[in-house]
């Protein structure tokens, strides 16, 4: 199959601006995008730089933006992605490019993955011999075990796009793997760690990441499970992220009290009743809203029918959490 490859080229050493170069490749129908890149390098332009290692979708080295979507180059057939005879190949977004299709993962991914301490710290007392773990106990962990650390979920993340410091779905998927590992002895500490500012609570729950994982690991769902586990622990976020706890408690108490969310009180309580600066910050929004009849004032929030039943459910669910 004859295909036109439009490939992102950038060499910081020759001082030129990034640009696309066009190449013609001719490969059998079964060929992958990576096969195409290799043919270009071997037969047309030896200066083309890209990364690949396993060539079978298990190392995550070849994550690229192919026809505007984050993909693993070695696992994507040209025939599947080609549009009007053209395949466009670029580095993934939101990342410093070193040369052509090679980018710097240090700050984008490795630093973040290390920050969640993704290694297992044995639970005490250590058994003699190996840990015996029942298959059912590992079922949850398996949902994240095959993560290849390609970073494509981070590439598609709505928050990372605007805030490079957000820890991101890839690292949180790793955190999940450790949090639910029955052999691990750092369960609570891990939940505290990911609850710090820039951690799991900075995620907007937009579910974007799910659509970007080439292995279908549903990183947003993994992250939700970490979050729910943190809630079961009572959100031990420490003092550096107190808003998280206040926001959650206020939301919960409002539903508990009346069956519904009390938006006015939520805004106030999340800032903290003694946090004068935080409360003052809310004022302009409230002042704009009052004449429009839009500011829901907490003291007008009525209990709904059914509130008693809701409260019973919450009490019971909370008891079974601990």
């Amino acid at each position: 199959m004859e295909t036109t490859f439009k490939v992102y080229r950038f060499d910081p050493e020759n001082g030129s601006k990034p640009d696309f170069a066009t190449y013609q490749v001719d490969l059998p129908d079964s060929a992958t995008v990576m096969d195409g890149l290799r043919q270009i390098r071997d037969e047309q332009d030896p200066s083309l730089a890209f990364r690949a290692s396993c060539e079978r979708g298990s190392c995550g080295d070849c994550a690229l933006r192919i026809n505007k979507k984050g993909r693993l180059g070695c696992s994507l057939k040209i025939a599947k992605t080609v549009k009007n005879g053209v395949v466009t190949v670029e580095p993934i977004r939101n990342i410093p490019v070193l040369k052509d299709l090679v980018y710097d993962l240090e700050g984008f991914l490795w630093k973040k993955i290390k920050s969640v301490q993704p290694w297992i710290t044995p639970r005490e007392p250590e058994p003699e011999g190996e840990y015996v773990v029942a298959e059912e106990q590992l079922a949850e962990v398996r949902k994240a075990m095959s993560c290849v650390m390609c970073g494509l979920c981070d590439e598609g993340c709505a928050v990372i796009k605007i805030d490079k410091d957000f820890v991101g779905p890839a690292a949180l998927t790793k955190a999940y793997r450790a949090v639910f590992d029955p052999r691990d002895g750092q369960h609570d500490e891990r939940l505290t760690l990911v609850s710090e500012p820039g951690g799991v609570w900075d995620c907007t729950h937009c579910f974007e990441a799910n659509g970007h994982c080439p292995l279908g690991l549903e990183p947003t769902d993994r992250l939700f499970e970490v979050r729910d586990e943190a809630i079961r622990q009572g959100i031990r976020s420490g003092t550096r992220n107190p808003k998280v706890q206040r926001h959650y408690d206020s939301f919960l108490n409002s539903v508990k009290r009346s069956g519904w969310l009390d938006e006015g009180r939520l805004a106030i309580e999340s800032e903290g009743l003694t946090n004068v600066a935080g409360l003052a910050k809310l004022l302009p929004t409230v002042i704009r809203a009052i004449p429009k009849g839009k500011a829901p004032l907490p003291y007008f929030h009525h209990k709904r029918p059914g509130a008693e039943a809701i409260r019973r459910i919450i009490d019971k669910a909370q008891r079974s959490e601990v």
Partner: protein, 295 residues
């Protein structure tokens, strides 16, 4: 077909214009709705699912007890939380049973897993039929440039919200705008997060999302944005002045609730749709509608 109606709390709290607009639209179209009143908040994706799943199972059981099989929402967030919970209840009978036994039995309730939850947008496009709207359109929105803004939860996770066979859900707003005579403007925020869920935890990021989305709609020439989600509305409208200030720009992008836009097309005036309650002035929309009527 009759629907149980779950208005959600925002349509009565911070977006009180949404509730009457939705009811007027349903009445106009002859869609029969009966509100479920004695139920709780969905948890909005904030509460842990350990807590919100039983609360939502209770709501769905109440719908069954009313003898109905469809629940209509008017909020992308309510819709998404319900759809995800309902997916678990329908596909994991043991889990459903556990919730029934532990939480619902004492009230004499049981959720059997028969309810479909549908946002008004889905009701119109899937049950009512977009063609059947045509006789009710009293003023075509010709010339009005509208940027659709879906809200995450009515789009994702795709495997549950818009699975194979229902992938058309990704363009319902555009399809609807087409029938109303308006022009869809494709802006970069269309299917993105509005930032509301992180408003308290990371206001800076949240406001950045607001200015990015409203700003891009403006750059693309939209007169307004339309959303099926009151939480998106809250962030994009009520917080737009804050976002503008942070970004150091003037945007002034009117944000219209989906039922309001339908109401305008069905001949209600701006007052009846309570556009005056919005924080960002909707005058540009009114002006364009004037032009459409005259021409």
């Amino acid at each position: 077909m009759k629907y149980a109606f779950y208005p959600g709390c925002v349509s009565r709290g911070a977006c009180p214009e949404l509730y009457p607009a939705s009811v007027k639209v349903a009445e106009t179209l002859g869609i029969e709705i009966e509100e479920v009143t004695d139920v709780g908040c969905t948890g909005a994706g904030v509460l842990s699912r350990d807590l919100s799943d039983p609360i939502n199972a209770r709501t769905l059981a109440k719908v069954e007890a009313m003898g109905l099989s469809s629940l209509m929402t008017i909020c992308s967030t309510c819709q998404g939380v319900f759809t995800q919970a309902n997916h678990r209840f329908k596909n994991e009978p043991e889990y459903r049973q556990k919730i029934n036994d532990e939480y619902l039995a004492e009230e004499g309730l049981e959720y059997k897993g028969t309810v479909e939850v549908k946002h008004l947008l889905w009701v119109l496009m899937e049950d009512y039929g977009v063609e059947n709207l045509k006789p009710y359109i009293k003023r075509k929105l010709t010339g009005l440039k509208v940027a659709p803004f879906y809200g995450c939860y009515i789009r994702r996770p795709t495997s549950i919200i818009a699975p194979k066979g229902l992938s058309g859900r990704k363009t319902y707003l555009e399809d609807l705008l087409d029938v109303l005579g308006a022009e869809s403007v494709d802006s970069s925020g269309k299917s993105k997060c509005c930032g509301f869920p992180i408003l308290t935890v990371n206001e800076e990021n949240s406001m950045r999302m607001v200015s990015d989305h409203t700003g891009d709609a403006k750059t693309k020439g939209a007169d307004c944005m339309v959303t099926p989600c009151p939480l998106c509305h809250l962030n994009l409208d009520a917080n737009q002045p804050t976002a503008e200030k942070r970004a150091g720009t003037q945007i002034g992008m009117p944000i219209i609730h989906l039922p309001q836009l339908l109401g305008l097309a069905f001949g209600f005036d701006e007052k009846e749709m309570e556009l005056q309650r919005h924080i960002v002035s909707t005058e540009a929309v009114s002006r364009q509608l004037e032009v459409s009527i005259r021409s």
